[in-house]
């Protein structure tokens, strides 16, 4: 692997962007599934507590990855969008921005649920993220928002995936392939 394959070019994604993309995609799906599953567990399920601890810890790690990815995005060239039509390129740009924003809002709302009483969030026992805001009924409001955002993110992810497949099969361009390996 050449050093240049790590960074983006004006036409292709480098390995760092590609790994960020797929690892974060995996984490997003995992956290969504875990979130839906854990709230259905009952008090006497062995994983009643562990599932929530994992969801919180993994969520904070994903937030760290999100931050690094955004930083990486800013110090790298952005590969040119491949759509033929201007509106298509604009829609793709908007959807990508929305994915980032929804993830950020999910991190914040999730954090506000667990820290609403002033408790810190313990991340895999490695470190603690302290509480900041502690408003009345914060856990309820943040909870409703977190749930709504999660479904909105999933809907946007579905749109994103459908668009990628459309580019691959209908437009027969490199949109999907270039997210699999650099210089494709």
């Amino acid at each position: 692997m050449s050093r240049s394959a790590l960074r983006n070019t004006p036409s292709s994604y480098g390995w760092i962007s590609i790994v960020f993309h797929w690892l974060m995609a995996l984490a997003v799906f995992g956290l969504f599934g875990l979130g839906l599953y854990m709230v259905e567990l009952t008090y006497y399920d062995a994983w009643y507590r562990g599932s929530l601890d994992l969801h919180k810890s993994a969520g904070i790690m994903l937030a760290c990855a999100w931050l690094l990815r955004v930083l990486w995005k800013f110090v790298n060239p952005q590969p040119q969008a491949l759509g033929n039509k201007a509106w298509e390129r604009k829609a793709a740009h908007l959807a990508h921005g929305l994915l980032y924003l929804l993830m950020l809002a999910l991190f914040i709302s999730g954090y506000l649920i667990s820290t609403a009483d002033g408790r810190a969030i313990e991340v895999f026992g490695w470190f603690e993220l302290p509480a900041t805001l502690t408003l009345a009924n914060q856990e309820d409001v943040a909870g409703v928002i977190h749930w709504g955002l999660a479904w909105t993110l999933m809907a946007t992810v579905a749109l994103h995936a459908v668009a990628a497949i459309k580019h691959h099969w209908l437009d027969k361009d490199k949109t999907l392939v270039r997210m699999l390996k650099p210089g494709a």
């Binding site: 009952t42 008090y43 006497y44 929530l52 649920i113 667990s114 820290t115 609403a116 009483d117 408790r119 009924n137 914060q138 856990e139 309820d140 909870g143």
Partner: protein, 191 residues
């Protein structure tokens, strides 16, 4: 001087009838000299304590006519506080109190039976989780008298144990945790 004495006598006479009937007390939630707490077993190994931070109410009380005592309390169920946000969220959700559907819990007394000086059995209708049941429980007077700021106060305590399933709450918390003890500690300011 004569005039003043007359005025004093007249006001005393006017005050007389009001002394023979129960006085109304506003529960001092503003100064937070009133608490509604709950206590439930955790796994059968220890107690979990919590409280409702927002409620309101008043009571009627006269030491000379205790049978006229009456009380009305309205609890905002969303103010539940067990000092743990994640647990509070769960307790306020549909598995337990379902506070968005049942935002208030109320107690309206229907009778009071004196069992001795400063104590008795209070009966009334208690509504929780949309279910209303007639309950009775013992209450005790803690004390009454003037406060240092020009008011008059009286305080009581009472507690009762409720079966959660009676109020349509059937989430499995284990065999030791099917009942919850509610404790009422109230101070009222005479109006």
């Amino acid at each position: 001087m004569k005039k003043l004495m007359l005025a004093a006598g007249l006001s005393a006479a006017l005050l007389m009838p009001s002394l023979s009937q129960a006085a109304t007390y506003q529960i001092d939630t503003q100064g937070a000299h009133a608490f509604i707490q709950f206590k439930i077993q955790h796994l059968g190994y220890s107690w979990l304590l919590g409280r409702f931070n927002t409620f309101d109410g008043q009571f009627e009380y006269d030491a000379k006519a205790p049978e006229k005592s009456a009380i009305e309390v309205t609890i905002e169920t969303a103010s539940l506080d067990s000092n743990h946000a994640e647990r509070d969220k769960h307790l306020k959700g549909s598995d337990f109190l379902n506070v968005s559907k049942f935002p208030q819990s109320t107690f309206k007394s229907t009778g009071f039976k004196s069992t001795g000086a400063g104590e008795g059995i209070l009966s009334g209708d208690f509504t929780l989780h949309g279910v209303t049941k007639a309950i009775s429980f013992p209450v005790t007077m803690i004390g009454e008298g003037k406060d240092p700021w020009g008011g008059y106060r009286a305080g009581f305590e009472g507690k009762t144990t409720l079966k959660l399933s009676d109020y349509g709450i059937d989430y499995n918390l284990g065999p030791a945790s099917t009942t919850v003890e509610i404790g009422l500690f109230i101070e009222g300011v005479r109006q």
